[in-house]
C-alpha cells in the first residue's frame, strides 16, 4: 500500500502546474486545460483520502465534480469557439474588452 503522502505530493504538483499554467499561459484553451488539471488534482486527492479514511463520500464528490466539470467544459468551449469566430484569436491579452 502506497502511503497517502505520495498522493498528496502528486496532486499538489499537478495543482501547482495547473495554477502556474493559468497564470502564465496566454492561450485561453491552454488556460482552460490547466483549470481542468487543477480540478483533477483535487479529484485525485479526494479519491486518495476517500480510500485512506474508508469513507465513500469523497468518491461521490468526485463524481459531482466531474459532472460539473463536464458541463463547464461544454459551456466554456462553446464560449471560446464563439469568441474565436469573432476575433480569430484565443489570446487572452487580446480578449480584454470585458471591462467598464
Amino acid at each position: 500500500m502506497m502511503p497517502v503522502t505520495h498522493y498528496i505530493w502528486l496532486s499538489l504538483a499537478l495543482f501547482s502546474i495547473g495554477v502556474l499554467g493559468v497564470l502564465f499561459r496566454r492561450n485561453a484553451i491552454v488556460i482552460f486545460m490547466c483549470i481542468e488539471l487543477m480540478l483533477n488534482a483535487v479529484n485525485l486527492l479526494m479519491v486518495a483520502f476517500s480510500t485512506y479514511l474508508q469513507d465513500a463520500a469523497g468518491q461521490i464528490f468526485v463524481f459531482f465534480i466531474m459532472a460539473v466539470a463536464a458541463a463547464e467544459v461544454a459551456v466554456g468551449l462553446a464560449i471560446l469557439i464563439i469568441m474565436y469566430r469573432n476575433t480569430r484569436t484565443t489570446d487572452i491579452d487580446v480578449l480584454n474588452r470585458l471591462k467598464w
Binding site: 493559468v22 497564470l23 488556460i31 491579452d93 480578449l95 474588452r97 471591462k99
Partner: protein, 637 residues
C-alpha cells in the same frame, strides 16, 4: 309662550335647507322660486326666533338641546348642541330680523344679476352659520359657525369673481380672519385642556377657580379671534376692502352681524374676561385705538361704502371699549342699535349706488335729496342715529358707553368722545356730499333717476323705524325709562358685575356728560354744513392732498402698504428664498451629492476592472494565497 327644546335646532336648519335646495338646483330654479325659498326659510327662522325670544324675555329658563356626540376622543367628548338664553335671543332677532330684511332688499338689488340664485344660496348659508355661531352651546360649535361665516364672507366678497381685485379682497378677508381664528382655536384648546370641557356654561361656572395667568392667556387668545372677526387693530384692514362685495352683503355681514361676532363672543365669555383684568384693559386700549384710528380715516375717504366701512370699524371699537370697561350690556345694546342703523345706512347707500348705476365716488354725487326722496329720508335717519342725536337709537346706546367709559377713566371717555365726534363729522360730510348741494357729474350723467323699488324700499323703511325706536328698549332710568334690555341680560352678566361693580355715574353728572357730547355734535354738524353745503367744498382730487395729517388719513396711514412690506412680501421672499437656497440648493443638492459621491467612488473603483484576464487570474491566485497565509498565521498564533 315657551319654545320647546326640540325646536331650537330648526332655527338654523331652515336656512340650511334653503341653502341646500337652492345650491343643488341652482341652475333649474327660477329667480322667483329662489326668492321664495331663500326669504321663506329666513322668515321661518325669524318666526321661530321671535317665539323663542318671547319665551326668554318673559322669564323662561335658558334652554339647551343636544343633537348628537360630535367629536369624542378619550375623555374629550363634545356634543353638537345648541343653547339659548336672552343674549342668544337678542342675537337671533338681529340676525334673522335684519337678515330677512336684507334678503328682501337683495331681491331688488340683485335683480338681473347672473348670479342671483347663487347669491341667495350664499346668503342663506351665511345665516345658517351665523345662527350656529350664536346658538352653539360649546366653543367648538361656535367656532364652526365662526369659520363658516368667514367662508361665506369670502364667497360673497368675491361674488363678482371676474374682478381680480375683488378676489384679492376676498382672500385678504379670509386670511386675516384665519389669523384671528388661529388665536381663537388655540384659546379654545387651552380651555378644553384646563377646564376639561368646552361647554360654555360649565366653563363659566368653573372659571372662578382657575388661576389668573391661565385665564389671561385664554382670554387674550380669544380676543385675538375677536380682533380678526370684528376688524380691530391690527387685523382691521380687510373690512374696508370687503366692500368689494354686493352692498347687501356689506350691510348684512360686514356691518350688522358677522363683524359683531367678536362682541358677542366676549360678552358670552364675560365671566372669563371679568376675571382677567389685564385682558380687559387690552380690550379697552385696542377698542379705543381702533375707534379713533378708523374714524380719522373715515373723514377723508371718498368712496361711499369705504366711509361706512371705516365707520363700522370705529363703532366696533366703541363696543369693545364698552366690553372692556365691564359694561357688557351697553356693548350688546350698541351692537343691536348699530345693526339697525348701519344696515340702514348701507342699504340706503346701496340704493344710491343702484340708481347711479354703480357710481360710488361721493365727489361725483350731490343733490340727490330731491330725486331720491325715500333714500334720502332713511339715510338721514341713519346718520342721525349713528351720530347720537336724541331721540334716535344711537344716542342712548352711545351715551351708555360713554358713561361707562367715564366711570372707568375720564381719559377713556375723552378718547371715545373724540371718536364719536369724528363720527358725527364724517357722517354728515357723507350726507351733505351725497344728497345736498349741486348734482355733479355722476348724477347728471344719468337721465332718469329712480328711487328704490318696492323690495328695496320696504326694508329701508322698517330699518329706519327701528333706528328711531330701538333706543327705547334700553332707556336709561335717568331719562325716565327703565333699561329693559339691561334688565333682561342681568342674569348673564351677574357674576361679571359682581366682580367689577359698576360705580354708576348718576344724576347731574350724567346730564353734564350728555350735554357736552350733544353740544359738540351739533357744532360739528354746523361746521360740516358750512364746509360741504354752503361753501361747496368738494374733496380734492387724489393728487391734490394738502398737509401731512390729511395725507396720512387719506392714505389710511399706509397700513396696507406697511403690512405689504412687513408681512406679505417678506413671507413670499422667505418662501422663494427657501425654495432656492434650502430646498433646491441645500437639501436637494446634498441628497444628489450623496448619489453623485457614490457614482464618483464607483468611477474610481472601476479602474480596477482592466478587462485583462491574466490580471484577474493573478489577483485571484494572489487573493487565495493571502487568505491561506492569513489562515495559517491565525493557526500558528
Amino acid at each position: 309662550m315657551v319654545i320647546g327644546n326640540g325646536l331650537l335646532v330648526w332655527i338654523p336648519l331652515w336656512p340650511l335647507l334653503g341653502f341646500v335646495v337652492v345650491a343643488l338646483l341652482v341652475k333649474r330654479l327660477s329667480h322667483a322660486q329662489v326668492t321664495w325659498i331663500a326669504c321663506g326659510s329666513v322668515a321661518l327662522a325669524f318666526t321661530l326666533s321671535v317665539i323663542l325670544a318671547v319665551g326668554q324675555f318673559t322669564g323662561g329658563a335658558p334652554i339647551k338641546q343636544n343633537l348628537y356626540t360630535w367629536i369624542q376622543s378619550g375623555n374629550f367628548s363634545l356634543e353638537f348642541s345648541f343653547a339659548a338664553d336672552p343674549l342668544t335671543a337678542v342675537m337671533l332677532l338681529i340676525i334673522t330680523g335684519v337678515g330677512l330684511l336684507i334678503h328682501i332688499y337683495s331681491v331688488g338689488y340683485m335683480h338681473g344679476d347672473d348670479g342671483f340664485n347663487k347669491f341667495f344660496a350664499y346668503l342663506n348659508l351665511f345665516i345658517f352659520f351665523m345662527l350656529l355661531l350664536v346658538l352653539g352651546s360649546n366653543y367648538l360649535v361656535m367656532f364652526a359657525g365662526w369659520e363658516g361665516v368667514g367662508l361665506c364672507s369670502y364667497l360673497l366678497i368675491g361674488f363678482w369673481f371676474k374682478h381680480p381685485s375683488y378676489n384679492q379682497a376676498a382672500n385678504k378677508a379670509f386670511i386675516m380672519n384665519r389669523i384671528g381664528d388661529l388665536g381663537l382655536i388655540l384659546g379654545v384648546m387651552l380651555i378644553a385642556i384646563n377646564f376639561g370641557t368646552l361647554d360654555m356654561a360649565t366653563v363659566a361656572n368653573k372659571a372662578a377657580a382657575m388661576d389668573t395667568p391661565t385665564l389671561t392667556i385664554i382670554t387674550f387668545l380669544l380676543f385675538v379671534g375677536a380682533m380678526g372677526k370684528s376688524a380691530q387693530i391690527p387685523l382691521f384692514t380687510w373690512l374696508p376692502d370687503a366692500m368689494a362685495g354686493p352692498t347687501p352683503v356689506s350691510a348684512l355681514i360686514h356691518a350688522a352681524t358677522m363683524v359683531t361676532a367678536g362682541i358677542y363672543m366676549i360678552a358670552r365669555n364675560n365671566v372669563l374676561y371679568s376675571l382677567s383684568p389685564v385682558t380687559m384693559m387690552l380690550v379697552v386700549v385696542v377698542g379705543l385705538a381702533t375707534s379713533i384710528f378708523a374714524a380719522s380715516i373715515a373723514i377723508t375717504q371718498n368712496d361711499i361704502k369705504k366711509v361706512l366701512a371705516y365707520s363700522t370699524v370705529s363703532q366696533l371699537g366703541l363696543m369693545f371699549v364698552a366690553l372692556g370697561v365691564g359694561a357688557f350690556d351697553a356693548g350688546i345694546f350698541h351692537m343691536g342699535t348699530h345693526a339697525f342703523f348701519k344696515a340702514l345706512l348701507f342699504l340706503a347707500a346701496g340704493s344710491v349706488i343702484h340708481s347711479l348705476h354703480g357710481e360710488q365716488d361721493i365727489r361725483k354725487m350731490g343733490g340727490l335729496k330731491s330725486s331720491l326722496k325715500l333714500t334720502h329720508a332713511t339715510f338721514l335717519i341713519g346718520v342721525l342715529a349713528i351720530s347720537g342725536i336724541p331721540p334716535f337709537a344711537g344716542f342712548f346706546s352711545k351715551d351708555e358707553i360713554l358713561v361707562a367709559a367715564f366711570d372707568y377713566s375720564p381719559w377713556i371717555w375723552a378718547g371715545a368722545l373724540l371718536a364719536s365726534w369724528m363720527t358725527v363729522f364724517y357722517m354728515f360730510r357723507l350726507l351733505f356730499l351725497v344728497f345736498y348741494g349741486e348734482p355733479r357729474q355722476g348724477v347728471t350723467r344719468i337721465t332718469h333717476l329712480h328711487d328704490a323699488p318696492q323690495t328695496m324700499a320696504i326694508p329701508l323703511i322698517i330699518l329706519a323705524f327701528f333706528s328711531v325706536v330701538a333706543g327705547f328698549f334700553n332707556l336709561p332710568e335717568l331719562l325716565g325709562g327703565s333699561p329693559w334690555l339691561a334688565h333682561q341680560l342681568t342674569p348673564l352678566f351677574e357674576l361679571a358685575s359682581r366682580l367689577n361693580p359698576p360705580a354708576h355715574t348718576e344724576g347731574i353728572e350724567e346730564y353734564i356728560l350728555m350735554s357736552v357730547v350733544l353740544l359738540g355734535s351739533i357744532s360739528l354738524i354746523v361746521i360740516a354744513h358750512q364746509r360741504y353745503v354752503t361753501r361747496k367744498n368738494i374733496p380734492a382730487k387724489d393728487g391734490q392732498i394738502r398737509g401731512l395729517a390729511h395725507e396720512m388719513s387719506y392714505q389710511k396711514y399706509y397700513v396696507d402698504e406697511l403690512y405689504e412690506t412687513m408681512v406679505v412680501r417678506p413671507l413670499f421672499w422667505v418662501s422663494s428664498t427657501t425654495n432656492r437656497w434650502i430646498e433646491v440648493g441645500g437639501i436637494n443638492t446634498m441628497v444628489n451629492g450623496i448619489g453623485e459621491g457614490v457614482v464618483g467612488a464607483g468611477k474610481l473603483l472601476r479602474r480596477v476592472q482592466t478587462g485583462s484576464i491574466g490580471y484577474y487570474l493573478f489577483i485571484m491566485v494572489g487573493g487565495i494565497l493571502a487568505i491561506l497565509a492569513a489562515h495559517y498565521w491565525t493557526i500558528v498564533n
